[in-house]
């Protein structure tokens, strides 16, 4: 059994593209985690020229790292007994963006598994801001599998 911090350690991302600070809970059906968008994130220099607004692709990426990849690591660990060397690829995303995210802001991502079969994980994801308002939501899918050596 992995503990929550081990899941974050297994993520294949690092600064400046790691968008998970902590996981609040994870089980075989759902995951919840948070990330703080800091004022000096690299993309705020160009998005936009006049005012820093978190790009939708980055919000999507944050939802995917918490909602798909962290949950996927946990599920691989449960099903295969380990998640040591895994491969991951996002295969589809359908997102709606409801509110802008200005830095600094701490967002919480809540993700529910739709299915995990034949290495494909599909999740319903929702992101909330500090006020608890829904920022974006959607359906994300990705392929997660143990590397065959």
């Amino acid at each position: 059994m992995l503990i929550i911090n081990d899941i974050i350690k297994k993520l294949p991302y690092t600064n400046p593209f790691l968008f998970v600070d902590k996981l609040i809970m994870v089980n075989k059906k759902a995951v919840e985690g948070s990330y703080t968008f800091k004022k000096d994130e690299f993309f705020y220099k160009g998005h936009f020229k006049e005012q820093a607004v978190t790009p939708g692709v980055i919000l999507t990426e944050c939802c995917a790292q918490i909602g798909l990849v962290c949950l996927g690591i946990h599920l691989l660990d449960l099903e295969e007994g380990n998640s040591k060397d895994f491969q991951v690829a996002m295969s589809s995303s359908e997102m709606q963006f409801l509110l802008p995210v200005f830095p600094p802001e701490t967002v919480t991502v809540k993700s529910k598994k739709v299915f995990f079969r034949f290495n494909k994980l599909q999740c319903d994801v929702k992101m909330y801001n500090q006020q608890g308002q829904l920022v974006c939501k959607g359906v994300l899918s990705g392929m997660m599998k143990i590397k065959v050596i």
Binding site: A89, S91, K120
Partner: protein
């Protein structure tokens, strides 16, 4: 007769996931999903899930590994439906 009907149902499912540059007419019994119809692994899973719903069967990992061509898929569907009887 039942075979033709199953092939038609399978074609309907597969056609949803064909890339834009592959036409429905390209789907033959010997077509390879990945190599000829250019269906990626993520969409192949979607096809399997749709097949399960359409035919009321459940496929396992071994079935997925065996399912290279349209004919393979038809054989698996056939076998699963037989097993159900």
């Amino acid at each position: 007769m039942a075979d033709d009907q199953r092939l038609a149902q399978l074609k309907d499912i597969v056609s949803i996931y064909l890339p834009e540059d592959v036409s429905v007419e390209a789907i033959g019994k010997d077509s390879s999903f990945v190599n000829e119809l250019n269906i990626n692994s993520a969409n192949l899973v979607d096809i399997v899930l749709d097949v399960e719903d359409t035919f009321g069967i459940r496929l396992e990992n071994e079935d997925m590994d065996k399912m290279q061509t349209v004919r393979d898929a038809l054989n698996i569907i056939d076998q699963k439906l037989q097993d159900k009887k």
